[in-house]
């Protein structure tokens, strides 16, 4: 199934009878995590993303599907990449996009998270894109607002669009996720990227290993259905994908591992350790990279195997697809209410 690119109506948002929904069914109001998302929903997002990859590579990148829609990026934790990616995704679809960094403003005045959510809700956004340093905070917000909510990362919990863009990158390179062996390496315990990826890869039929020092493996890793390796070369043996995670600098100060030097020696990805993987194994990293700590530059910049820049590219396409799908649901809701007068 390849969904429409053009659309049968010049103004897809306008009128009481919006554009036919084609044959896309996306049964979620929000995208809060990969958990609870079935293979069909994931495939729907990835299929639609493909069309946006083509669009983004063309000269005219602007569309009007989301004209009249408002997307608010609410970031309670600093981010450049993800915020820019969502901003670009929204703008390319024609939405009005606003960025709010809440770190220093309302929270310091004693306003609670839910007050902030209610305030934003009163401005009638169509989509809230939320990043928050605490696990579960995005879900909490979604329970209090009427619009669609996309989780752009909550604590150690989930970062679903990262897993989706990783999946798109892999799928475009290798055709399918099913049956692949993927090694996720590094600070799995504190990584929302790892959680979302484990869930997505399992849902799509891939096998997942994690490679990390014991202090960075989550407590019940065995219950996640992954194989755990503490020896990197052993863990990388025969894998199709090597997915590196970023080591958060604040973790380096604790007692989780003794030094950057030792970490790189045993868990940093370099040419030598990579030899254990399949000869054409892909190298991925969600960025930003700590070169010389978790990944060696020779590997990161290997144009034949590193797909790190491609991940960034796929990020915009995947986020466009997410915004597109969720706002289609909003249109449908308005239509059911009979309240979709004009360009609501």
């Amino acid at each position: 199934m390849r969904p429409r690119l053009g659309g049968s109506c010049d103004s897809p948002m306008g009128g009481v009878n919006p554009t036919p929904m084609d044959d896309i069914i996306f049964p979620h109001q929000h995208i809060l995590g990969i958990e609870g998302m079935g293979p069909e929903a994931i495939s729907t997002i990835l299929d639609l993303s493909e069309s946006y990859v083509d669009l983004n590579r063309g000269r005219d990148k602007k569309r009007s599907d989301l004209r009249g829609r408002t997307v608010i990026n609410v970031f309670f934790e600093s981010s450049t990449r993800t915020r820019t990616s969502f901003e670009l995704a929204g703008k390319r679809l024609g939405a009005d996009v606003i960025n709010i960094a809440v770190e220093a403003s309302a929270i310091n005045k004693g306003e609670t998270l839910l007050d902030t959510a209610m305030t934003l809700n009163a401005m009638h956004p169509d989509v809230l894109v939320v990043r928050h340093p605490y696990s579960g905070a995005v879900q909490l917000i979604s329970e209090k607002v009427e619009c669609a909510v996309i989780n752009a990362g909550d604590g150690w919990h989930e970062h679903p669009t990262q897993a989706l863009l990783d999946a798109l990158t892999i799928r475009r390179r290798l055709g399918s996720l099913a049956g692949l062996n993927v090694a996720i390496c590094g600070d799995v315990a504190h990584s929302r990227v790892a959680r979302s990826n484990i869930l997505l890869l399992h849902t799509m039929g891939a096998f997942v290993r994690i490679v990390a020092p014991p202090t960075l493996v989550p407590a019940a890793a065995d219950r996640l259905g992954v194989d755990v390796y503490h020896d990197m070369e052993e863990g990388l043996k025969g894998v199709d994908i090597v997915m590196m995670l970023r080591i958060q600098t604040e973790r380096m100060r604790g007692s989780l591992f003794p030094s950057q030097r030792e970490y790189f020696r045993y868990y940093g990805l370099d040419v030598e350790k990579l030899k254990a993987a399949k000869p054409d194994a892909l190298i991925m990293h969600p960025g930003p990279m700590n070169r010389g700590i978790e990944i060696d530059s020779d590997v990161a910049d290997d144009i034949n195997r590193s797909v790190i820049p491609e991940q960034v590219e796929m990020g915009v396409a995947v986020r466009m697809a997410c915004l597109d799908l969720l706002t289609r649901n909003v249109i449908a809701n308005f239509d059911e209410d009979g309240s979709a007068g004009g360009n609501t």
């Binding site: 958990e35 609670t112 998270l113 839910l114 928050h132 605490y134 696990s135 579960g136 905070a137 879900q139 909490l140 909550d154 604590g155 150690w156 919990h157 989930e158 929302r192 959680r195 989550p218 407590a219 019940a220 890793a221 219950r223 996640l224």
Partner: protein
Amino acid sequence: MRRAFVNARLLDPASGLDQTGGLLVLGETIADIGPHIRPDQLAPDIEWVDCHGHCLAPGLVDMRTQFREPGEEHKETLDSISRAAAAGGITALVGLPNTRPVIDDVAVVEFVARRAREVKLVKIFVYGGVTKGLEGKQLVEMGLLREAGALAFTDGLHAVRNAQVMRNALSYAKAFGALIIQHPEDPDLAEGGHMNEGELATRLGLSGIPTAAESILLERDRQLVSLTGGRYHAAHLSTAEGLAVVRRAKAEGLHMTADTAPPYFALNDLEVQGYRTFAKVSPPLRSEDDRLAVVEALQDGTIDVIASDHSPHDQESKRIPFAQAEPGMVGVETLLPLALELYHKGQLPLLDLLRKMTVAPAELLGLPLGTLAKGKPADLVLFDLDRPWRLDVKGGVGKSKNAPYDGRPVQGQVRMTVVDGRIVYQVAEA
């Protein structure tokens, strides 16, 4: 004032009494008890209450609650907790010293005592801190606080972290026969943790607290009790490993007692699913295996007491991300029906269960309460043992509503609560 309670199932765990009969109250005390107290035998000037065969037991003694007054009256006051306790069949409450200001000084003890006299519903007692400011460094004036009325000493939600301070507290308290109550959780292992360490914590991306946080501190304290010969009580036990330490200490003859609270035998950590902050407590809800171990420890006597661990919180403390939310559940109104689940499931005989909420805590704290004996205060609870109903936390009388029990089907309901002969709560007749 003369009042008789007739046609009751009299239950007195202290004497093992379980028979149909009546109880006569003269003024504030129990004047007589037994099968011979029947309506047709009473003098005409005695007012009588027909108990319709329901259970008449000593009023519950709840040895672990948080009053929030002084300092956080928007969460609970001595007035609201008293009314809530009365509705729960509790006739005596003991509050932790984590008020604002904290109870580490005679003046605050006297303040609470004065407010309790004004409210005058249920009996209100307090603990003093073990250390000044509950900071774990300098001991409080235990003797003076005891004289002022502090029943025992605890740093409340804080563990006494320093082994030397704990050793000295246990040792010094012996001069006054005072009990030291510990929140048994190693602060370093628990630091930054928000729920039980395990699969759900991993899935939710919440940092976990290992069960060893409890057993490590208990094991240290067991050795300190052995060293000092002090009296030690471990509050709200939640893990199989922790209970094993207490079991061993008891076998060695050490004075080491323990309580738990309904969350630890009625719920497990799956309750946290969906980031439900109402299920955030300290220590955290544990695994099903630990829950079963708590039930077993209640059966074999390792756990002496069931307390409510009542921790009222307002919405601003709970409707926030899980990691930021305050730990604690309200519990005085649900203590009896949740505890009765143990009886209805056949896990504890009724008298054994009631003992853990009446005479056991009273004896531990040196209170002449919790029995139906002649001459004792007429603190009573009348309850329908079998009545099925659904818990309604939102509709409760307490000021805060933070507990995940709404709609839970239970059996057993308080009909009437009596303190010093006064009826302080009575269910509206349907």
